[in-house]
């Protein structure tokens, strides 16, 4: 009780209520919300949610974009900017945000079909689709279906991480699937965690 009273007194005396401004990385990450949503929780379909993304994966993505290994005319300059600001703080900020699954509607039939087609994916991304840091595979669950579909198409067209030998197997797999199946897989993984 006494502790509570002291805490209340301290709070009242503080010059500014502790708001998000005091969260490490908040200021360095707030440019990102223009495309990725508040605190990285996107409401859009074609960009990934960053909220709750493990720091190791966000840092890898920033490194790959900045170096041109993952070609993106939009993300390459911004990744260089994030690196000048401090990628550790930015990645730490997003990792600490509550994960929110995409609200973009997915077709139930597509989800069922996608689940049936997902066995190969599960070998690397896990049965639950949550990814595996040891294998370097990201969590796919709850990401917007449009973003997931576009990434698969980019792999298929050798436009995402072109020439990266460690990703040969996923590209071969994507090339073996038609676009309708890719859309089913996107719907399935997006539906997980909702």
């Amino acid at each position: 009780m006494r502790a509570l009273v002291i805490a209340a007194a301290l709070a009242a005396a503080a010059p500014a209520a502790a708001g998000p401004i005091d969260a490490p990385g908040f200021t360095k990450a707030f440019s990102c919300s223009a495309c990725h949503g508040r605190a990285g929780a996107t409401r859009a379909d074609a960009v990934p949610s960053l909220a709750g993304m493990p720091a190791w994966y966000l840092k890898k993505a920033i490194d790959d974009y900045a170096a041109g290994r993952r070609p993106s005319p939009e993300m390459e300059p911004f990744s260089k900017m994030v690196k000048t600001l401090g990628v550790d703080e930015v990645a730490g900020y997003f990792a600490a945000q509550p994960r929110e699954a995409s609200q973009i509607k997915v077709d139930r039939t597509a989800v069922v079909n996608g689940r049936a087609a997902s066995a190969t994916c599960a070998a690397c991304h896990g049965e639950d689709g949550r990814g595996d840091a040891a294998k370097g595979t990201p969590d796919l669950t709850g990401q917007p279906p449009g973003y997931l579909l576009n990434q698969m198409k980019l792999f298929k067209a050798e436009k995402r991480s072109p020439g990266d030998a460690t990703l040969t197997s996923i590209k071969v797999f994507m090339k073996s699937l038609d676009d309708a199946t890719l859309a089913d897989l996107a719907a399935y993984y997006s539906s997980l965690g909702r």
């Binding site: 010059p15 500014a16 209520a17 708001g19 998000p20 401004i21 200021t27 360095k28 707030f30 440019s31 919300s33 223009a34 495309c35 990725h36 949503g37 508040r38 996107t42 409401r43 859009a44 379909d45 074609a46 960009v47 005319p73 939009e74 390459e76 300059p77 911004f78 260089k80 900017m81 000048t84 600001l85 449009g146 576009n150």
Partner: protein, 429 residues
């Protein structure tokens, strides 16, 4: 997150005008209620107050972020319009690809989610010496002021434009003029000539006029194949995404682009515009985008530089170089190597809000650079983009890199839509 009391809500909600005039009435009861009475403080401060003048991309963002970052601050946003209508994507209204309703939003999110008090009135003057903003009915005091007045048109620079009134539209502030111009385009006969003018830089949204040319040309190509678009550009060349627009226009043989063709006169009787070299161009529908300067209140408050057009600011705090405790953001600024874009306005809103919150709390403002992405729609389904990344070097904003998409695509159009969805929420929700 930001809690509002019922009293706050009443003051800030649609009944603001009633509540405020009630207070003003009470205040004047003690004195002589004559026309010469010194105007009174319209709302007693409930604490430390930040006023934001202008509820567009920069101002609305700033109002929200000040409250998000320090809920102990009172924020009053002064914005005459009751609805926020997005300029980005409004060229798609001309081509019928989007409705104006899909670009129209209310300010309820700022009120109800963030506790921003909103007055739908016009600020009439800024008084930095007394830290007051004047409205018709009185004044409001502030600790720090954020001015985001956008742009106004230098109508006087084009002969006949002021007298033409609504017969010659700019449609460069999204709203009724956008809808009216879309109607004129729709009603134009096949075989007609649509003439649009591009103002000399600097103006709001550098790629905007060229995107508009794409949208009008796409509409004519698909709906009025015998009609023609003539673009009269005051500049020597396309000033943004030059090669990309030139490439996109290959699909529009109905588009005739004339560089160095500044429109200096418009005659709605003769349906004719005249360029500075004396060329006369007849039109069926005309869209004159006039030369621009900072919003009138910034000019009146002498926040503009010697050119009397734009406001110079500190690159870290966005405090005016001409007035203490007054921060200027958005399209009305100059001197920072950034375009007058929606993304930049949004970024400036966040950075200035953070600076204001820190300075009011006696802390230094963090050195945060803005970031920019501008998408342009070249048809109903394809878009392209320019991206700019920045850093702060010795207190100045410096560009790290500018990059263009290699061309136009439906993927970039998806990204454009994602950007719009996200940034509208970042400003208002």
């Amino acid at each position: 997150m930001a809690r509002m009391t019922r009293r706050d809500f009443l003051k800030a909600s649609g009944s603001a005008a009633f509540a405020v005039s009630g207070l003003a009435g009470c205040a004047s009861m003690g004195g002589a209620p004559t026309a010469t009475t010194t105007p009174s403080e319209l709302m007693p401060t409930t604490g430390r107050r930040v006023i934001v003048v202008g509820g567009g991309w920069a101002g609305a963002t700033a109002a929200k972020y000040v409250r998000m970052e320090d809920p102990s601050l009172e924020v009053v946003l002064i914005e005459p319009n009751r609805k926020f209508i997005s300029c980005p994507f409004s060229n798609l209204v001309l081509s019928g690809v989007r409705s104006i309703g899909s670009l129209t939003f209310g300010y309820n999110g700022l009120r109800e989610q963030h506790g921003v008090k909103i007055l739908h009135e016009s600020a009439t003057a800024i008084e930095p010496d007394t830290r007051r903003v004047r409205l018709d009915r009185g004044f409001l005091s502030y600790e720090r002021l954020i001015v985001a007045p956008g742009i106004d048109f230098q109508t006087e620079q084009i002969e006949g434009l002021a007298a033409a009134g609504d017969r010659v539209l700019h449609a460069w502030k999204a709203g009724p003029q956008t809808v009216a111009l879309a109607r004129q385009l729709k009603e134009m006969p096949d075989g007609g000539v649509f003439v649009m003018s591009v103002p000399p830089a600097a103006y709001r949204c550098p790629p905007g006029p060229y995107e508009r040319a794409c949208q009008v040309a796409w509409y004519l190509k698909t709906r009025k194949p015998r009609a023609k678009l003539i673009v009269l550009d005051a500049n020597q060349n396309v000033i943004s995404k030059t090669a990309l627009f030139r490439a996109a226009w290959q699909a529009y043989p109905n588009l005739e682009y004339r560089a160095s063709s500044k429109v200096v006169k418009v005659d709605p009787e003769a349906r004719e515009v005249t360029t500075e070299f004396g060329d006369k161009v007849r039109y069926d529908v005309v869209n004159v985008i006039p030369p621009q300067r900072a919003g009138a209140i910034a000019v009146q408050a002498d926040l503009v530089g010697v050119d009397k057009r734009w406001c110079e600011v500190d690159h870290v705090t966005y405090e005016s170089v001409k007035a203490k405790n007054v921060h200027v953001i958005g399209d009305s600024t100059i001197g920072i190597p950034v375009p007058k874009s929606g993304t930049i306005a949004n970024a400036m809103g966040k950075i200035a809000a953070t600076a204001v919150v820190n300075l009011i709390n006696g802390r230094p403002a963090p050195q945060m650079p803005p970031a920019n992405v501008c998408y342009s729609w070249v048809s109903d389904s394809e878009a392209m983009a320019v991206v700019n990344a920045y850093r702060i070097d010795n207190g100045k904003v410096v560009q790290i890199e500018q990059k263009l998409t290699p061309g136009q695509s439906t993927l970039y159009a998806q990204h454009a839509t994602a950007w719009a969805t996200s940034i509208w929420a970042d400003i208002l929700a």
